[in-house]
Symmetry: C2
Subunit: 175 residues, 2 copies
Amino acid sequence: MSDPPLFLASDHDHRACARAILAHAEGVCRARGTRLTVQRRRVLEIVASSHAAIGAYAIMDRLKEGGGHPAPIAVYRALDFLIANSLVHRIASRNAYIACTHVGPHRGSQFLICRRCGTVGEMTSERVWQALVGAAAGAGFSVVAPVIEVEGECAACHAATAAPDAAATDTVAGT
Amino acid sequence: MSDPPLFLASDHDHRACARAILAHAEGVCRARGTRLTVQRRRVLEIVASSHAAIGAYAIMDRLKEGGGHPAPIAVYRALDFLIANSLVHRIASRNAYIACTHVGPHRGSQFLICRRCGTVGEMTSERVWQALVGAAAGAGFSVVAPVIEVEGECAACHAATAAPDAAATDTVAGT
DNA sequence: TGCCTATATGTTATAGTATAACATGGTTGT
DNA sequence: ACAACCATGTTATACTATAACATATAGGCA
């Protein structure tokens, strides 16, 4: 309830988002004694540069723009670190990655992926978690690591579809 | 509630499962006027030969045992057909496929994947669906195609872990 | 029956995603 | 300075999936 909205307007100040993500990462690494190296930080910046999911090879291309010639493994190693520290999440259904934007401990986030603008919202509904664990328990199954990735339409794109003329430019999103 | 248990004992008569799956496929294709060709049928048989998910290239290897030398695309084409007819489901988090074992219309199945024996149970909890759609709606998001794949432990493997000596052979499963 | 068209399959090549294995370099604490 | 550990570089390769075009086969219809 006190979390920020999952989907921000396409004209929101994304630099503030990116800054917050990086600041959070600094804090997490300092607290845990892990190292947010230049390379890891750069990968996180790229992943955090948009609320849409980005693929590992696209990340690599962005790294190349900086003049280097990184191998895929370098990207995956950085992603492994970031994922292990819950700073990045993998979207299995897209083979892509997003920066974590939610606060508090991780217990089965639900990812809402807009089919139009590609924006991914990270939701942590307790009710969904309870329903899932409860239903699984009914089959004698104990949940360890749920993957919940929902394709659909965010409010802005849905509105744009219903009234294609109005606010058409609002569907561009991307950042 | 009237559905069969999601996870069957490892010594269940799997031939009956496979027969039921194939019979259902015949019925679906007859009703829709689509063709369950030899190749598609063979792929379905392979996928249905176990309650664990199987990868496309593993399916190809099994096809080769029959003397042919199929290309990957042949497997993917058969899988496309079977998935389009809801006879097979893709497990995105594993890049693998399972035969559909549930009755009734498909509306966001939840797949329970045992981390030990690999068995996948297909659950269709209305409560999970409602919780997910409701929570998403709270963020202005309309659900189209959820991917819910839960890693965890099935009852048999959980029991075996708690008491490793007892019923150790029961954890073999696979079929 | 024989052609026509849809659909299905064969064939070859390639795109896209991810990891293995081993060498080298940098940081930290002593 | 040294040792130990962690991070990165380098090269090669495994695994997953699709594109593009040729050929074949099944069923409907003249």
